[in-house]
Amino acid sequence: MAGVAVSTVINGDAVEYLCQPDEPLLDVLRDRLGLTGAKEGCGTGDCGACSIILDDRLVCSCLVLGAEAEGRRIETVEGMAHGEKLHTLQQKFLEHAALQCGICTPGFLIAAKDLLAKNPDPTEEEIRFGLAGNLCRCTGYDKIVRAVQDAAQVMKGA
């Protein structure tokens, strides 16, 4: 089996790696690059815990091959905060206690970031359908939706 050499950009940094042709990007991020913020909840695109943004599109990194990242731009949860400052969504998730166990949180943050980038003033229904690809088993989603609503208000004003 021939390894595939890939040059890509992750959270603004140029990154190069060698991966197997059938290796999911999620495994590359976690096992080769040490970016364990994206989680594997299912490996089949059904839970959203591995969400990343690939060239401005929200995707499950378990459904992308590492080889496909050549020449693309990847954003993960590790790139959301800037220096000492948390992203507004991160701050609001903390304030609203939008996490209990926290395993789904990176995926939700990335999905919410994508949602607000495309729809800065979503209704509750738009938030709920926009985040339907991310499973949370602890919160019943109530506090997550509220955190996103609050973040949207703050980000609009910024």
Binding site: Q20, R30, L35, T36, G37, A38, K39, E40, G41, C42, G43, T44, D46, C47, A49, T76, V77, E78, M80, A81, L86, Q90, F93, L94, E95, H96, A97, L99, Q100, C101, G102, I103, C104, T105, P106, L109, E124, E125, I127, R128, F129, L131, A132, G133, N134, L135, C136, R137, C138, T139, G140, Y141, D142, K143, I144, V145, R146
Partner: protein
């Protein structure tokens, strides 16, 4: 132990506030490390081979080809694990479930495992293991398994708890019975009697994080285990016992846990990972796939329940009876017993009788799931209670209020209640605006009550005060939903310092004394008791140090609002010493300052909740949508109210999923057909409304702050609340959970005739 756990009314300054959790930033930045986020140098990848058969004799396993594959470092079967055949039966079952010894007992049962240099090699190696199975007849349905002709899962099982010892083996491992009075007489006095049979399907806790661990056994007999668990001390005990290691030489570190809900109270793959590591001489990482989680961890029981309740015209219940059959998987459990204890716990009954049957089936071993066994019993009972209210012509809330248990009532499971919250939750529901909100066409409202015991248990806490006056709190109960925040609040409260001055961590098994696991809603209840005790012990030392600094007798020093204060007119000029002042001098006043506590937190107060639910049912498709939901529950004292709300909302959401769509679906071949999140349908964000909560605080007399467990009770009422709402919306009584669209549509069509 000279710690007094009794409740004393007091005003709080920290407890009851809502600060940000101490582990929060790590979790929103992706830094928090869960089970699969940890690696060791030279680590191998472990994978498990699982039975494709529901029930099969393992005649022979040939691992030779797999062993020869380049990159394979260890292959194990049950032969590589201790043979506990003549030892403790409970431990035998745990180990047999980790790796089948003679028979594969369910689809997904582990039969062999490999450790290899990478995942691909491990996968290939599994394919090279040859197993000669003799496929046996299987049974997966709880009612069928009780039939005389059913395939026997274990021919050494003779039903316990029967009047006469049975002569033939059976799939029923145990019969249990609870109650008091004379139900026959009670039914005789009834004007109305409702008698119904119910079924509930098997569900899974559905935590998003699959089981994961990294095991490393050294040549000198010491070992390390990194694992996502609800109880690392219990995992240590079990793993050490199963593998013949010394407990204190096995250091278990609990990772952040990505949900457990009872499913991570049990070892599944950890002993296998340790055995692989021992054989390979290298660390082994073993992470379950989602498919493995569904097929081979521990879902709930499937149940079949008959309920009979009688009442007089005035609405007084005269008798209540239930027979409860709970599936246990292939090993004995006590699940029906819990169902039998909790079924009628909300009510004041003169005549009550419940009988439980534990039933073996060819499904994965049943494990705890949030108030285990109680939701199914509550579904049956609360559905029947609603029907009975309807027959009598009395409002269902009033009917429940009239019959609710109260302080002094003999519970249906035996003892007499102390102060309890069922009545207050019902009164709160009665007064709630939700109950008066208008409903549209095809919409219906339902409500139901729920009960759970709550546990305490062995608990140990260390509280260390740094020289700079900052405080670290080391607890041994795994934080599953914010307990580090609530325990920090409790420590801040006792010490009289700011929450921000503290940092709570979950200590590993080598750094702290034994703790029971985080189950039975005990995390905050037990560890807060130990935290209070540890803080009070630290305060004794702080007072002593202040006395030294002042050179006065310690008895003249009291602790007030985070400061040592010298009492009496003669000390008027001494002022106050803060915790920081005393800590700064600790090096010369006797060394480090710490408070420890080891205790058994007993006397966890029982807990009650009442839920209200509105649904809309599409009469043409049977689709149900939950449009409004309200939880009212007694918390004793809400230490961090936001996380208490979170527990209420989370339990309600899990209950909604269970009520409407979640179920294990087995084929005729006894194989699980929906082992993934695509077809095991847990609620998604767009399925749910906001979930309103109302926290009641009826202090638990057996906790200094009045705290009760809050984690589990919230999953007990939803099945029944939604069933009652659907029945009101669709005009048909639903008796089979989940109330999936095909079941609802079939019921509607049958009603139409």
């Amino acid at each position: 132990m000279n710690f007094d756990p009794r409740y004393s009314g007091r005003n709080f300054s920290s407890v009851g506030t809502r600060p940000i959790r101490p582990d929060g930033v790590d979790k929103v930045t992706g830094r928090a490390r869960y089970g699969a986020d940890f690696n060791m140098a030279g680590q191998l990848v472990g994978r498990v081979l699982r039975s494709p058969h529901a029930h099969a004799l393992i005649r022979k396993i040939d691992t030779s080809k797999a062993e020869k594959l380049a990159g394979v470092k260890a292959v194990i079967t049950a032969k590589d694990l201790p043979d506990l055949t003549n030892g403790d039966a409970g431990m035998y079952d745990i180990l047999d479930n980790c790796m089948a010894r003679t028979k594969a007992l369910y689809d997904g049962h582990a039969v062999a495992a490999v450790a290899a240099i990478d995942a691909r090699t491990a996968r290939q190696a599994l394919k090279l293991i040859e197993i000669d199975y003799e496929v046996l007849a299987h049974v997966t349905d709880v009612d069928e398994a009780m039939q005389h002709h059913a395939p026997l899962i274990n021919d050494a099982i003779f039903t316990e708890g029967l009047e006469e010892k049975p002569v033939k083996p059976s799939n029923v491992t145990k019969r249990s019975q609870f109650g008091h009075g004379d139900v026959h007489q009670g039914f005789g006095a009834a004007d109305f009697i409702v008698e119904r049979s119910f079924k509930t399907e098997q569900t899974h806790q559905g935590y998003i994080e699959p089981h994961a661990c990294v095991a490393s056994v050294n040549l000198d007999g010491t070992a390390e285990l990194w694992v996502c668990t609800q109880g690392h001390f219990v995992y240590r005990q079990h793993c050490a016992q199963l593998l013949g290691l010394e407990a204190s030489k096995l250091r278990v570190t609990s990772s952040e846990i990505g949900g457990g809900f009872g499913g991570k109270t049990h070892v599944w793959a950890e002993p296998v990972a340790l055995a692989l590591s021992r054989k390979a001489g290298r660390p082994v990482k073993l992470v379950m796939t989602r498919d493995e989680v569904f097929r081979a961890s521990g879902p709930t029981s499937a149940t079949s329940i008959d309920v009979k309740i009688g009442a007089r015209k005035d609405g007084t219940i005269t008798a209540a009876e239930a027979t409860l059959r709970y599936s246990a998987g292939p090993y004995a459990g006590s699940w029906a017993e819990i169902g039998a204890m909790t079924a009628f716990a909300c009510y004041r009954l003169d005549n009550v009788k419940t009988v439980g049957f534990e039933v073996l089936v060819n499904r994965p071993k049943t494990a705890a799931y949030r108030a285990p066994s109680a939701p199914m019993a509550a579904f049956a009972v609360e559905s029947a209670v609603d029907e009975l209210a309807k027959e009598i012509g009395i409002d269902p809330v009033e009917f429940r209020i009239k019959n609710a248990a109260q302080e002094g009532t003999r519970s249906s499971y035996g003892p007499v209640y102390g102060p309890i919250g069922i009545g207050p939750t019902l009164e709160a529901v009665k007064a709630h605006p939700h109950m008066k909100a208008p409903l549209k066409q095809n919409q219906g409202r339902g409500m139901a009550c729920g009960f759970w015991f709550n546990f305490g248990g062995q608990t140990c806490v260390d509280l260390n005060i740094g020289m700079d006056g900052s405080v670290s709190l080391a607890v041994g109960t795994v934080d599953v939903g914010g307990s580090r925040a609530s325990l920090s609040l409790v420590a801040a409260e006792e010490l009289g310092i700011d929450y921000a001055q503290l940092k709570a961590v979950v200590a590993d098994t080598s750094s702290l004394g034994y703790n029971d696991m985080t189950d039975g809603s005990r995390g905050t209840f037990s560890s807060s008791m130990a935290t209070i005790s540890a803080a009070r012990n630290a305060i004794k030392i702080l007072r002593d140090r202040a006395a030294q600094m002042w050179d006065i007798p310690v008895d003249d020093v009291v602790w007030e609002q985070g400061h040592a204060v010298a009492k009496g007119d003669k000390y008027g000029n001494l002022g106050k010493l803060s915790l920081r002042d005393i800590a700064a001098k600790s090096g010369t006043t006797g060394g480090p300052i710490a408070g420890h506590s080891e205790l058994v937190a007993d006397g966890a107060g029982v807990s009650f909740a009442t839920h209200i639910c509105d649904v809309e049912v599409d009469p043409e498709t049977g689709a149900t949508r939950v449009i409004r939901y309200t939880v009212v529950q007694d918390a004793g004292k809400a230490v961090h109210p936001t996380y208490v709300e979170g527990q209420y909302q989370g339990g309600a959401a899990q209950g909604i999923g269970w009520a409407l769509n979640e179920e294990y679906i087995y084929g005729k071949d006894g194989r699980l057909q929906n082992a993934g999140f695509l077809d095991y349908r847990i609620p998604v964000c767009s399925d749910l409304p906001m979930i309103d909560t109302q926290i009641l605080e009826i202090p638990n007399p057996n906790h200094p702050y009045g705290v009760r467990g809050v984690g589990e009770t919230s999953i007990v009422p939803p099945l029944a609340a939604i069933a009652n709402a659907v029945s009101n919306a669709a005009g048909v009584r639903m008796t089979h959970i989940p109330m999936s669209p095909p079941r609802i549509l079939a019921a509607i069509e049958a009603e139409r005739g």
